[in-house]
């Protein structure tokens, strides 16, 4: 097998600077991860412990198989928002009784586990991961319910209303998706650690298995206050919603646990009897680690993304034995395509080495079809400023050929995993199986930038458009105001394009340490192989 030859100069100034920058970004990321992991803080954890309760991370850790890996998804959701970083919610893919599953739940130490837009999005993402990858779904339920405080904290509540398109009338999809999993024969297990009232009652309500904890779980369509308001009944909470009542009278509870550890043990017992089998092929057990040190990934990508780097250097430090059988290396060289494997899972890789041209787009479309013919998953390594623009390129069909690539990506049915190392701008993001194109997982490096275009380009475009409008109307162009506006646009565009911002909006599955790329890809591929791995037979019409 051809092995990649590295030309990375680890003694160069660029390498040292890139590495220092990356380590600084990782330090920032790790500090935020620590903050997210603290949840509601020590005081809140003490209060929980006094009631025999554990913070969510502890519950999850106790449920997982000892020493098994756990991939947390979107751990930095809600950064730079009104909510606690992490969103008071943990979502991840872990192993329970030898079965990979989606595990998630609200953290009772953060606002008593209340819903917010960020953790709501994580919950829906968890359901999606379970559905598309066919992973059993384990939810640790304990939530105060919706955050009834409305609007946007102490800001102008109307401002939020003016921009927000959400409405209650669209809510409840999560319950639909839980029962849909059951229909798809994907097991759903609820362990109810606390209150699960109102809409929340349907979380266990729609689940295949419910484990309740004596004196702790409470499930009711309406809690005592709502019951009082609705019917005037003075309901006592145990007979209205108690675990023992549900286990002995209503039948909503399938297992009655004595305490949290007992509930977790029962959850594992349920997993153990599922008779679960993954549908995808097993990975090859025989593979070698990369021939080059993954530690060197730290010095590869420049912070400002202006200087190009050879994406093969990344591939050489991620894939098995650094081997890479390159497809059409001499044609459309700005897109590197080739065959390799990651921890024994065969994959095709599409990786950017410059803007996408007609040739590279067509090469991508062909490569994606080949991967579908052989049921081979695809990994997309993004560092893409976009499809090339200009009249010459348009005349040679760049839109048409770019569309072929997007057609292939959209209709491909083998699992896709996206990893954004640097830029992922504009339609380049689409062609490289960006989030909206349904990759099974999307991860970003701290150096990632995701936007419709580069911030400077965006500011410049707005300036040119403004100047043209002024000229059309025959009014003088205010250069000073334009410069100020351009700087402003560039600043905010830059901020919003940063990986941290993207990941805080749950528009990917999380920011990862570059050195973890191989492990993250392996977990993503393994999860994807819980479902069938079957290539598409048909695509959309190829525009010729």
């Amino acid at each position: 097998m051809p092995r990649l030859q590295s030309n990375l100069d680890t003694r160069s100034e660029d390498y040292a600077r890139n590495r220092a920058d990356m380590l600084q970004m990782l330090e920032e990321m790790n500090a935020l991860l620590e903050e997210a992991a603290r949840g509601g803080g020590e005081e809140a954890h003490r209060r929980l412990a006094a009631r025999g309760k554990m913070p969510l991370r502890q519950r999850i850790a106790h449920a997982l198989d000892r020493d098994s890996p756990f991939l947390e998804i979107s751990p930095l959701a809600a950064w730079r928002s009104d909510y606690q970083v992490g969103s008071g919610f943990v979502l991840g893919v872990g192993v329970i009784e030898g079965i990979e599953c989606v595990t998630l739940g609200h953290d009772p130490s953060v606002m008593a586990g209340a819903f917010n837009p960020f953790n709501g999005k994580k919950l829906m993402r968890g359901l999606e991961i379970a559905r598309v990858n066919r992973l059993p779904y384990v939810q640790f339920v304990e939530s105060a319910g919706a955050d009834l405080r409305g609007g946007g904290g102490d800001g102008d509540p109307e401002a939020a209303l003016r921009r927000d398109t959400g409405h209650f009338a669209e809510s409840g999809r999560l319950f639909y998706e839980i029962t849909e999993l059951s229909k798809l024969r994907i097991p759903t297990i609820s362990v109810v650690f606390g209150a699960s009232t109102a809409g929340g009652a349907y979380q266990p309500g729609m689940s295949d298995y419910n484990i309740l904890i004596r004196g702790q779980s409470q499930i009711a369509l309406g809690g005592p206050p709502l019951v009082k308001m609705a019917t005037g009944e003075d309901a006592d909470v145990e007979s209205l919603a108690g675990a023992e009542m549900h286990a002995t009278v209503s039948g909503l509870g399938d297992y009655l646990a004595e305490d949290e550890m007992d509930a977790i043990a029962k959850c594992r017992e349920v997993m153990a009897h599922l008779n679960w089998k993954k549908l995808g092929p097993e990975p090859s057990g025989r593979f070698a680690e990369p021939a080059y040190d993954p530690e060197e990934l730290l010095g590869l990508v420049p912070r400002d993304l202006k200087a190009p780097f050879d994406i093969r250097e990344a591939i050489a430090r991620i894939v098995d034995d650094s081997y890479f059988e390159e497809f059409k290396p001499l044609y459309g060289p700005t897109l590197v395509c080739g065959w390799t494997s990651v921890c024994g899972y065969p994959v095709g890789i599409l990786a950017n080495n410059g803007a996408l041209f007609s040739e590279s787009s067509e090469k991508a479309a062909q490569f994606i079809q080949l991967a579908n013919l052989s049921d081979t998953p695809l990994v997309f390594l993004h560092n893409i400023t976009g499809y090339i623009v200009g009249s010459d390129f348009e005349q040679r069909g760049i839109t048409k050929n770019g569309s072929k690539m997007i057609n292939a990506v959209s209709n491909s049915t083998v699992p896709h995993v996206s990893m954004i190392l640097g830029a992922s701008y504009g339609a380049g993001n689409y062609g490289m199986s960006g989030r909206a194109f349904g990759p099974r997982f999307t991860f970003i490096w701290p150096t990632a930038k995701i936007a419709v275009m580069g911030p400077r380009q965006m500011a410049g475009v707005m300036s040119i458009v403004g100047r043209a409008a002024a000229a059309r109307r025959g009014i003088p162009f205010d250069e000073a105001a334009d410069a100020k506006r351009a700087a402003n646009v560039e600043f905010w565009a830059e901020e919003r394009s940063k990986g941290l911002f993207a990941t805080s909006r749950v528009s990917d599955d999380g920011m990862v340490d570059p050195r973890d790329s191989r492990a993250v890809l392996a977990m993503a591929l393994s999860a994807a192989h819980s479902n069938q791995v079957r290539g598409a037979k048909e695509f959309g019409t190829w525009r010729m």
Binding site: D67, P69, F70, E100, R268, F287, V512, D513, D516, A522
Partner: protein, 669 residues
Amino acid sequence: MAHVVGPEPARPIRRLLVANRGEIARRIFRACRELGISTAAVYADDDAAAPFVAEADVAVALAGRSAAETYLDAAKLIAAAARAGADAIHPGYGFLSENADFARGVIEAGLTWIGPAPETIAKMGDKLAAKALMASAGVPTLAAAKVSSERQARQAARAIGYPVLIKAAAGGGGRGMRLVETEKDLRAALASARREAGAAFGDDTVFLERWVGAARHLEIQILGDRHGNLVHLFERECSIQRRHQKLIEESPSSALDEKTRAAMCAAALTAAKSLSYVSAGTVEFLLAEGEFWFLEVNARLQVEHPVTEAVTGADIVIEQIRIAQGEPLSFAQADLKSRGWAIEARVCAEDPERDFLPAPGKVLAWRASRAAPARFDSGVETGTLVSSEFDAMVAKVIAHAASRREAAALLARALETTRIQGLTTNRDFLVACLRSPQFLAGDTTTDFIDRAAIPRRRVFEREALVQSAIAAAMEAQARRRARARVLASMPTGWRNTPMPLEGVAYDAAGEEVALGYRAQRDGSFQFVVDGQARRVVVHCAGHGEADFAIDGLRATFLVDPAGEQWLVHGPAGDVELAERPRYPVAAGAELTGGLKAPMPGVIRAVAVKAGERVSRGQLLVVLEAMKMEHRILAPHDGVVDEVGVTVGEQVGNGQRLLSLSIAQAQAAE
């Protein structure tokens, strides 16, 4: 053979059957292998998987469990020799080794008997007659009296003077031996000594002997051939005993000066000569304040013969076989020198904390020391059952060095670094004995164990327990990763975000060791134990051997799981850890409102009353419904608070039948 004297014709042995078991069978097989003789074993049911059976060229099952049904059944043994095609029998020690009838039977069956002539055995078998014979030959003896009734015993004891020792007339090894301090204990001691003697030797005759306190047990090894050659191989001291059985033996003795040694050896040769002794034997003496008395002759191979072999370089078993084949001894008295010091310790499956009571069980892990050169005469390997039917001795360990102090240090180290796990043994006690100032000073009288106050149990340093726990945790994680059904190629405990530490807790030597750990990016582990962070670098784990460094200190630990237990053997020796369950069994609470009828029906029986303590699964009420009897059982241990129904009563669905609360005692636990 030109000139042959003795009770049987000599001929070369082709296959030798050992009418014994355990370490001595293996010991004799080893000698046979060196002489080019084929081996045959016999075995009782519990020994079917024992190493000595596997090591023999052929083996014959004796079909039975008890000693009486097997190794004490002369007819079965002789038939087994025929079945095995053996032409000789070695009886080992114990069992029928000093049974003259058996020896005779063997010879009559046309087989070669490896041992003294039956007549010699018979003469020495009666301990009292033997004493009289020796006294007449001029060997000093202790006052003694044969007793057949309790009254006779009382009289004899008064004549000798308390304390007196009750001994079995038919055998040694401490069986049937009782020390009686005062007359009021005589009756019970006599009865139990008889019982034990009867069970061990098939003869419950006992005699009384003067008790000499603060004495030493000395013995002289002798060897005689059929050509009239007779030699002694110097003394052994076997003073350290418990329950009248030897525990630590050595040669030479620290208590003998040259003059006494010469006198004692001469007395032994006198005794042997008076018997025209052929084969190996031991003349036992009691020594106190420079004076010694003849005790008895053991007309057989002794357990502790290896210490003599170590200092003299002779192979006593090989000599026994040669002698039986009619060959002369390989050496003359003048050739024999005692060099250096040898000490033997008997590792037994017994509990020093419970007065050395036998503690049979299965050896779950065995490995002779690799840290100190010593001779291991072991009857066990990993997996061997130490049956309650037979002797609790598991192995003998013998160290030989230039001086007594070095031999003691070597033996202690060899014992300490031997792996023997899964059953309780006296090993730690032996190590403590060998390192005690009293032992090192040579202060070893027969009351050593009562006097020296040797700790019966080892006290571990906390760090030794922590290291063992880390070894168990690392071995366990490696095994789990190797067994993982999915994601087996992922680094152990991989995380992309901060998660709580992996946790495991063990009970070891009465202490709890709770560990938290997390794999680091560089492949090392960060451990948190007793509030301290430790860095652990694992070089290898998962195959029963964990090689790792804790904060830079590297060592290899043998680690094996046994149920909930982890058997760890590291630099601190054997440590057993019980892993606490990951999910503690939650105490079941009372179902509020009590136990309810699962369906409408009629009460057919009420099996409990209010206030009654019940255990989980116990029948409480029988309900008949749908023509079927439904038995309502206690869901947990508890106390019946109230019974709400009577027999014949019709009950509705969900009606409360009785209420059951958790027992107070349990709730308090």
